[in-house]
């Protein structure tokens, strides 16, 4: 009896931020003069109405899982890696470059495209890492500045060297040759290989942070870099490594967006997943085992909210409001609980 009640309490507590966020967006929708229930209904329908839509939810899970897996590593080292977005872009750029440069059959091209994504993202991540460790530039500003630079670089390439022969448009480069298409399920955009890679990544990060020496070292650096250094951890090298590994996973996400989802390079190839992954990390309490749950929830909103524009003429940014407000109320309710829970106990 008692045990079931306390687990019920736990579930309520975990869902409390979601309820408050729904109330908050309810108000925002009323301000915008829209019917809140119709909006929620459309988001859910947009994500679940057909098997194809459900597959799209899984498609959205892939970049979010990869970016969150990477972000968990830098987060463990105490770094607020806001540059994941740009690392994702860098992966997509490296992959596109490789596909343009190497006319190989798919069994050669696809593995190499993945490697290019990993390397491109890792290098872009390292750039922020070098600025942070050797230049004393806070990783928030280094990462963010590099995000804008990467986005501008993408636009330059799409409207310059990589533009389609019959003129550049906002829809991106010409489609890649078929040899560079990551195979997908029939009638869907879901690539099983991509999904497996993403799940493997989050699994690997779970093991890394839980049970390996390097994971413990990163956590020690995150908790207290000075103390970790005195105990013999090379903070500079480990931070750089964390940036590189996170960048590699984000770069893989960007690469797969290009080869499995869009099959070309588009201007918004990163689609905000890098920023969203930071919210995922917060909401999961930076615990890898909770990341898939939050990622699924976020992906449902991500896939469902464009329907608001079609059916209700509302801006799809409502989805972002929901995601961010859940994170905000998660932080606030956790704080309230810590503060007023302490007094009781």
């Amino acid at each position: 009896m008692n045990a079931s009640r306390s687990s019920l309490n736990k579930v309520t507590l975990a869902l409390l931020p979601v309820f408050i966020a729904l109330l908050f967006t309810f108000l925002v929708l009323l301000i915008a003069g829209a019917n809140p229930l119709a909006a929620y209904g459309n988001i859910l329908a947009g994500a679940f109405e057909s098997p194809r839509k459900l597959a799209d939810v899984a498609v959205a899970c892939v970049p979010l899982l990869l970016c969150s897996a990477g972000g968990l590593i830098t987060y463990a080292a105490g770094l607020w890696n806001i540059g994941i977005e740009g690392q994702m872009i860098a992966g997509a750029l490296a992959t596109t470059w490789l596909i343009n440069a190497l006319p190989l059959p798919s069994y050669g091209l696809l593995p190499l495209s993945v490697v290019a994504g990993l390397v491109g993202g890792a290098l872009w991540g390292l750039l922020a890492g070098v600025l942070r460790t050797f230049g004393q530039v806070n990783e928030i500003f280094a990462g963010l500045g590099l995000n804008f630079v990467a986005a501008a670089l993408t636009n330059y390439l799409i409207f310059g060297p990589w533009k389609p022969p019959d003129g550049a448009t906002m829809s991106g480069t010409d489609p890649f040759p078929q040899a560079a298409w990551m195979p997908t399920l029939p009638q869907a955009r879901l690539s099983p290989v991509a999904l497996i890679l993403a799940l493997a990544a989050i699994g690997a990060v779970y093991v890394l942070l839980r049970g390996t020496h390097w994971g413990l070292k990163l956590k020690a650096i995150g908790l207290n870099p000075q103390a970790a250094r005195r105990l013999g951890a090379d903070t500079t090298r480990n931070m750089l490594l964390a940036f590189a590994v996170c960048g590699a996973l984000a770069g893989l996400a960007g690469s797969l967006q290009a080869t499995a989802v869009y099959r070309r390079l588009i201007p918004q190839i990163s689609g905000g997943y890098g920023y969203l992954s930071l919210l995922v990390i917060l909401l999961s309490g930076s615990r890898a085992e909770w990341v898939p749950v939050v990622v699924f929830f976020f992906s449902v909103i991500q896939v469902g909210s464009p329907r608001l524009e079609l059916r209700l003429q509302l801006d799809s940014s409502l989805g972002g409001i929901l995601q961010a407000s859940v994170a905000l109320f998660f932080l606030l309710t956790r704080g309230l609980r810590e503060r007023f829970g302490e007094k009781k106990g």
């Binding site: 230049g135 500003f141 509302l314 409001i321 905000l328 606030l332 704080g335 503060r339």
Partner: protein
């Protein structure tokens, strides 16, 4: 009376920099109290939208500005309450609010996109405007730009020359000592976070009602991050921060002036330049290698460089204070 091209250009830079001045000085006050409000990029978007939407619907510019300042203050209050009272991470709170405010500006502002609306009227100050050079540059502007001068001067005098300013600095540098002397540390932090947020809101409304008229999705994206970087570049000193804001404004308009002259340079270079510049500027003011470079300067040059470009953050910046 015809103004020379140079005067017109400088005048335009001063006007275009007004929102950056408001936002970066506002954040300077907040950070001097030891709090980082990282939400600036989102807050400026949301308040630019609010200012325009309220002025558009009510027909009152004043209401537009007040609403924007109120929204900026509320967002800042959430950062303050969440971190001071609830002990949550300031960076996380600020970042979440950045995304939340940006999306709210898109969603609520949707009906106002590209609508022609009210703007702050041009208002040369009689008398002052006929001072040679300075008149046309400084006093041939609108009321909001005059307010930006006032904000610079008052914030500088406030921080460096007054009793409350001394307490503010104490709270940001050594909160324990300030507390021991009877300064209400937490209340001071709330006060300057909310005040700074109101100034950030003023910056947003200044964009949509005076500098970059109207509203569109992502109207001011990126500016909040630039403002946050300018605070560091300016070494948390109001005058130097204002100098940083004007310098950035000048470089930006120099860029757009140069763009037609270099048709071969891709436009994306000009899009990326502010952010590359931001990283370089931070590297210059905080990187270790600058120390090594300084070594080669003559002592007088070194002192000048230190006074202009080096700054240390308030010692308790971002650190929670728990009186026991």
């Amino acid at each position: 009376m015809t103004d020379s091209l140079a005067m017109v250009t400088i005048g335009a830079v001063i006007a275009a920099s007004a929102p950056l001045v408001f936002a970066s000085i506002g954040e300077t006050l907040t950070e001097r109290a030891g709090v980082v409000n990282l939400s600036l990029d989102g807050t400026i978007l949301l308040t630019a939208m609010t200012g325009f939407a309220v002025a558009f619907s009510s027909g009152s510019l004043a209401l537009g500005f007040l609403a924007a300042m109120a929204v900026g203050a509320v967002v800042a209050f959430i950062v303050a309450y969440g971190s001071i009272a609830l002990g949550q991470n300031q960076t996380a709170l600020g970042f979440v609010l950045t995304l939340l405010c940006a999306d709210m500006s898109s969603f609520i502002g949707n009906p106002y996109v590209r609508k022609p609306g009210p703007s702050v009227p041009h208002m040369p100050i009689p008398g002052l405007v006929s001072i040679p050079f300075l008149g046309p540059v400084l006093f041939n502007q609108d009321a909001v730009v005059y307010l930006s001068y006032l904000v610079i001067i008052v914030s500088w005098l406030w921080v460096s020359r007054t009793q409350p300013g001394l307490r503010l600095r104490g709270v940001g540098e050594r909160p324990e000592a300030a507390h021991a002397r009877g300064v209400a540390v937490q209340r001071t932090r709330y006060l300057y976070t909310v005040l700074g947020g109101a100034l950030v809101g003023l910056a947003g409304a200044t964009y949509s009602l005076s500098v970059k008229l109207g509203w569109s999705h992502g109207h001011t994206t990126g500016i909040g991050w630039i403002a946050l970087a300018i605070v560091i570049f300016g070494g948390w000193h109001p005058l130097r921060v204002a100098f940083g804001a004007y310098l950035f404004g000048a470089l930006k308009s120099l860029g757009s002036l140069m763009q037609p002259a270099f048709p071969d340079v891709p436009t994306q270079v000009f899009q990326a330049a502010p952010f590359a510049l931001m990283i370089l500027a931070l590297l210059l003011v905080s990187g270790d290698f600058t120390e090594r470079l300084l070594f080669y300067l003559p002592p007088r040059g070194r002192r000048l460089f230190n006074a202009l470009l080096r700054g240390t953050p308030p010692a308790a910046l971002g650190k929670p204070f728990r009186p026991d």
